[in-house]
Amino acid sequence: MSTTTTRGVARPASAKASPARPRRGLRGSSTFNFWLFTSPFLIGLTVFVYVPIGWSLWLSFFEARFTVTPSKFVGFDNYWQMLQDSKFTGSLVTFTVFAAFIVPATWALSLGLALLVNRLRFMKAFFRSVFFLPTACSYVAAALVWKMSMFSGVRFGLMNTILGWFGVENIAWLANPDPPWYWLVIVTLRLWLQAGFYMILFLAALQNIPPELYEAAAIDGAKPGWQTFRHITLPQLRATSTAVILLLVIAAYQAFDEFFNLLAKTTWGRPPLVELYYTALGESQDYGEGSAGAVILTLLILIVTLVQGKFLGFGRGDDK
């Protein structure tokens, strides 16, 4: 680390105004100050983010059961094992099914709520709060309510009670994969919990649409309703929509809490992270395969992010 005092002089020309005078001594050196401010974070980042990632990469090439200091190098064996493991590939299918439901559903619901709330003239803050409130709930608490009260498979569950009024037999929502009612439980839970969050993002974007656009459209004879929505609102929300969809896909990919709690002790409906949890921290404690799985998942999410960014034109669009 440099202890000279000259660094303060060598500041980039882009800095608007030069400081009064370069300060003398260690305290005034910008190099010293840079490290003073950033080193706690950088040391932590190295130790708790970079070291685990590196260690994990290393472990993924070794046979590492019940140990994190293995000696038997196995090359890409762990990777082939994971890729051939029907449980692991099945978990990717589970994620795909989940994303296919939850991403469009949340997008549509949060956009719909934002449009409704945005039109309100009275009690706007109240309704916004109501839809936003579930964000405060943890996935665990929501899973508990869904599993033990709303979608409880027994007679006194709320859904079964309501269905009972219409003479429908009790449905075992979670305990039976055929028909796969558990998807309804899981998707409604996440929909309820996260829709308000994305509604806030859409609301902010809606307020940024210049009203002149609507006035111009009205002059041009566009009918209010579907026409203005289709040709003005939706294109204006393009950047937000893209960001929301990306966030939703990444969040779905990392889904763990509700699957783990709703479907504890079942063999169906396991998304990637749940599968990884059981591989690495379950009975076999296979850190080698677990690490290989983590590397594969990380690469996949990178690819999905990049492809989606390209496909949906991330960064393009309606910046004013």
């Binding site: 060598a10 105004a17 983010v49 549509a108 409704l116 309100l120 839809f131 665990v140 899973a143 990884l276």
Partner: protein, 293 residues
């Protein structure tokens, strides 16, 4: 402007709705009211069950609300010996507060350093921070656990808190924020003879409290609600957080519905307070964190 507006594709122009369109307005308020009621159903279930007796919950006919709200369920929960819920509440409070304070401190300092202190390798270091955003944090729980367990931090506050603090995302947000902080204020501080450190604490932080509050609110909520990392680290019940305690209720042999839902209600209560009193910062925080993605 005569037909009722379908809920899916409504007109989104508040000021364009004509005074006379009573039908459109009624339709709007009816549809949003129904949606709001549906959103509140889970909260209703929590409160109803938390204040009922087990026979009322499991009875033949649906009871909309207990005849005599059982406030005694509250004290019964804390005397229940199967799960030490009081302990888990305490753990959660300590952990969430430490995570919030630690994240704000460490990440804001780094964000300021990266944004404002000239250093020739600052860009390279910033890319090193950005790189961690590419790796979803949940996916790295296996290697992180490997590291933390070899440090002997399993079942400890250290293990629950410290690995979570170094959020590249929070650092990034602070950097972006400080890039937009008015330079004139800092330069005035410099003229007054304050160094970077003094200017930061006396001028920059006091003028950024809104932003700090927004990040603090978001961090506290995610710390309180976190599940996967506490599940991995908290193997002994004495190190359980509230979320792990709730999760354990779902797999226990004995099911006391009224206690379980009282516990759920209590676990949500702190965050409901955050919502009621800090919503301004929360909304701001969501807008800040969501926009970047």
């Amino acid at each position: 402007m005569t037909a009722t507006v379908p809920p899916v594709a409504p007109v989104d122009r508040p000021r364009r709705v004509k005074r006379g369109s009573v039908i459109g307005n009624t339709g709007l308020y009816v549809s949003i009211g129904v949606a709001a009621l549906l959103f509140l159903v889970p909260f209703y279930l929590i409160v109803r069950n938390a204040l009922s007796t087990d026979p009322e919950i499991t009875g033949e006919n649906w009871k909309f609300f207990p005849a005599n709200p059982q406030w005694g369920n509250f004290t019964e929960l804390f005397h229940d010996t199967t799960v030490d819920f009081g302990r888990s509440l305490f753990n959660s409070a300590v952990v969430a507060v430490l995570i919030t304070v630690g994240t704000l401190l460490v990440c804001s300092l780094a964000g300021y350093g990266l944004a404002r202190i000239p250093y020739k390798h600052a860009n390279k270091i910033f890319y090193m921070v950005l790189g961690t955003l590419m790796v979803p944090p949940a996916v790295t729980f296996v290697p992180s656990f490997v590291l933390v367990s070899s440090l002997g931090w399993v079942d400890s506050y250290r293990g629950l808190v410290i690995p979570v603090l170094f959020s590249g995302f929070a650092c990034f947000l602070f950097r972006q924020y400080f890039l937009g902080f008015p330079r004139e204020l800092e330069e005035a501080a410099r003229v007054d003879g304050l160094g970077y450190w003094g200017a930061y604490w006396r001028i920059v932080v006091p003028n950024s409290l809104n932003f700090f509050a927004a990040i603090a609110t978001i961090t506290f909520i995610s710390g309180w609600n976190a599940f996967l990392w506490p599940l991995v680290i908290g193997q002994d019940p004495s190190a359980w957080t509230v979320q792990i305690a709730l999760s354990s209720y779902m797999t226990n042999q004995v099911v006391n519905f009224h206690l379980i839902f009282m516990a759920t209600a209590i676990s949500i209560l702190p965050l409901v307070f955050v919502f009621l009193f800090l919503q301004r910062w929360l909304v701001q925080g969501v807008a800040q964190t969501g926009i970047k993605g």
